[in-house]
Amino acid sequence: MFAFVIRRIIQSVLVMLAVAMIAFAMFRFVGDPVNSMLPENASTQERGELRAQLGLDAPVTVQFTRFVTGAAQGKFGISYRNKRPVSDLIAERLPATLELVFSAAIFALAVGVPMGVYTALHRRGFISNLLQIISLIGISVPTFVTGILLILVFSVWLNWLPSFGRGEVEQLGWWSTGFLTVSGLKSLILPAIMLGLFQVTLIMRLVRAEMLEVLRSDYVRFARARGLVNRAVNYGHALRNTLMPVITIVGLQLGSMIAFAIITETVFQWPGMGLLFIQAVSFADIPVMSAYLVLVSLFFVAINMIVDLLYFVVDPRLSVNNKASG
């Protein structure tokens, strides 16, 4: 077990180094940050000086080594655009993104699981077919279109919910939360729906397929033979077994939701990490871009590792095999 963890950690570090390397190779194509930092009437000489002082004239390999050495010490430099330490900026934005992703995941589970169960139990019902069709729309309409439509309906026409921002936030230490104020909660609704819509469809289809599978299994057939009521069989036995793969997938999807939050955050001006990243790209703000990419790869790697470890805990066969082979 211990050897396994060590092995995974070494692999993770290699993955992150690779991500950072690819990111640095790409930065040469995002444009020259010096142009956005100096006034239009700055002279050619001033531009050259600034470029040299920032180390932008050094070869990519040198810049990369500098970045990795800094990152290893927790130093990500100062943002070209905001003039503030990148680590502070990310710490400030992280709560916004995590709260959004958390709410979207809860929304996706709360809506997706019941819909999946319903469509599995009433396979040929009219409502089931309707839900299936709606879920197709959810999976095929681009998310920014859904976002704009939500704003149009709920903000412009009905005037119920705010169209941008996070509302009032409360500070709990360094963590800023929108969960404690009315305006914060209202601001959360539309972005969470936009981000969670795709996941709703995914979870619904997954639950439906798994549920149909489990309902056909001997385990459920014997439960029915025992004379248990439908409710106990469906929810106590079938659904429980269905949820195992669902939890795995949702866990993995969390990573991609953090990444996909970029679009949602841009549409709703949600002050999270995705918005920070998009604006860094248009400014060619290299310190922010590199730190963001490394952080997101860290999330992916960490989630994957936790899922792998959970398999060990959940599935006793894995550790048995390991012992046998080792």
Binding site: V30, M37, P39, E40, L54, R81, N159, F164, Q269
Partner: protein, 530 residues
Amino acid sequence: MKNFLTTFGMMKKTLAAFALFLILATPVSAKTLRMSEGGDIAAMDPHSMTESFTIGFLNHVYEGLVKYTDELVVEPALATSWEFVEPTRIRFHLRKGVKFHNGNPFTADDVVASLLRASDDSSPVKSNIPGMASVKKIDDFTVELILSGTDPIVMNYLTNIYIMDNEWMVEHNALLPADIRKGKENFAVANSNGTGPFMLESRQPDARTVLVVNPDWWDTPKHNLTRIEFNPIASDATRIAALLSGELDFITPAPLQDINRINAANGVSVIEAPALRTIMLGMNFGEALHNSNVTDKNPLRDLRVRQALNTAINMDLIHEKVMRGKSRNSALLVAPAVPGYSAKADVRVKSDATLAKQLLAEAGYPDGFEVGFDCPNDRYVNDEEICQAITAMWARIGVKAQLTAQTKSKHFTKTLAGESDIFMVGWATLPMLDSYSVLSALLHTRGDRMGAWNPGGYSNLKIDELTDKVAVELDPDKRTAMMTEALTIARDDVAMIPLHQQPLAWGIRDGVHLKVSSDNKPRLWYVTID
């Protein structure tokens, strides 16, 4: 759900009644202006960035010795008067009784420390005050600014150099501007202490910056605001939706394609003005083109070819179709509000494809030629669409332009490296608001201080000579005449192809009274709300 909605509706009614009660009960009611722009201000440090929206917004918190009115005329601010002791020595008499937001009195020490800060070698804004040699305190309310040479537009520059509190800077170790090269944070980036009509209450980058009125401001306020909430919103659609839904009072910019929609909606409208920014095409004057079938020489060095390209462009069509009638076509490289502009010289050649073809034939290219064409797609109003239209117009005379439209940071990197054949660039002449800006940056032969935006390598001795004279001429009439002359030479030589001044459009809620400034900097100390 229904229950919840009814409760919510009732809550809203109660709140509305409560708000009405507040308005009736308090004699001076709170007037909040909620505004939005596409991007956030860069930082609160007034010497950390020269981007014009940041500088314009910070003018509510910080002030310079002088400032622009909403008609773009220089007026006294922290200096009450000034005189030229010598052509290179200006004596400023400072305003007495001014207090910074933290209560510190404003004195000559603050001016000296601020000017030294702005012109420091590490300062990103040092090129906004290029002529300054040194600054000297005479007494507590008199300061002398010594220039390295005569500078006729030094006052225009000074509108952009804001004064900070010396004691506050010393206390917080912020005597030098925020400098990312040092790798550490500067206190002035997130905090502020100015003398302006508004004070910083709170700031969350990219989310919200709140200013409240400064009750001890030295000037009599023309505005009736008590609070300004600035919410940057990057997405155009969201920004407009927020204006339409009543969450905002004022947005900038209002995209051209949405002007009619905003005007058609209840309670909001668009105010427009021609902007200072002139959109133009620069050309490669080097030995050969980068993307062409003509490899032995550069066709663009032939005046007749440049005239042909200019004549082939039908600006009326672009004005009508691409710019929806909101732009102002231009034959000069500056807008009418900029000194050096002359209505007499501002006559565009008539668009004529036959004449253009004839000119090309005379130059030896009867079948045209291929040429690279670079445009940004997120910098100017409808930039990519303009370039597409021009590409089609040139195709009719046989010039096959290979259009590359890309994001601004990439576009300008390529262009400034001198890798473009023909490229789009816009110039507002800010911060100096003077034709000298165009002459020195775009038209002058490239050198260390000159021609920073002349990557095509245009060089005209007559224009260089006039530019150098303009730089030091103190007589405004002579100076303007020389600038007009240089601009006219550039027009006749087709040094660049001027297109138009792009429109400026702001969306506002009814009841908010505000004038569009052609430099695109909202001056909210003139705003009143009913």
